[in-house]
Subunit: 110 residues, 2 copies
DNA sequence: GTAGATATATCATCACGCGAAATATCACGT
DNA sequence: ACGTGATATTTCGCGTGATGATATATCTAC
């Protein structure tokens, strides 16, 4: 749907936003992005996990393994204090970026 | 200023937009992006040229060498018919993409 | 005469999303 | 009992493309 390059850079912001609302596991985040965007935005599940691992290394999120009866083990991630700061910064960053690009490309002349 | 990943994917749209208004050469496009974004958005000049070459290979733009007295030779690029279509498509694509991301990340809670 | 802006070109490097494959459990239909 | 598909995580090689460094050349201004 969207150019692969366009999706890059929004991945972290997207994941951080998902985790701002609730503790979630990887697969859940993937499905959430897919359904909430009505199938228009779909990140590969492998990408999702690699970003999660990277963000955990960065100390933005922390995973917690949960084993429930009759369920495959899941790793639930939540934002750390640092992650919350990064989310805020990336959110503002995104808005400013979009503003500038929109300014530069002007209105579409359909 | 902005994450390098965020800039990826907006480069082509940006250049195509610049060339929609007038025939321009590479260095000029770079300066234009820099000044119009008040220095916030700055693409490497090397990146700019590599994107220009790629877009010319794709047939989206066409370069024309101009040699003026007392000036270094410049290559002026203009949009082709195909490039105009790509610009329109990428423009719509950008707007839709931004809409979806904004929907997913929600309003900032500053 | 040299420093800095203008202007283009090339190439190695690196980050990162992607595709593919492996592993494991549960639900459902037959 | 068996297969299929959804759920769930992991790993790794690949390809794309922005970046940084470097080279070259001309003009202006001090």
């Amino acid at each position: 749907m969207f150019s692969p390059e366009l999706k890059k850079g929004s991945m972290e912001l997207l994941i951080l936003s998902m985790l701002d609302q609730a503790e979630r596991h990887g697969y859940e985040i993937g499905k959430l992005i897919e359904t909430r965007s009505r199938g228009l935005l779909e990140f590969r599940i492998s990408t999702l996990y690699s970003v999660l691992y990277r963000m955990e290394d960065n100390g933005w999120i922390r995973g917690r393994w949960v084993e429930k009866e009759g369920q495959r083990s899941r790793c639930y991630y939540r934002l750390t204090a640092a992650g919350r700061k990064v989310l805020k910064a990336q959110h503002e960053n995104w808005r400013e970026f979009v503003g500038i690009i929109n300014e530069l490309i002007g209105p579409s002349h359909a």
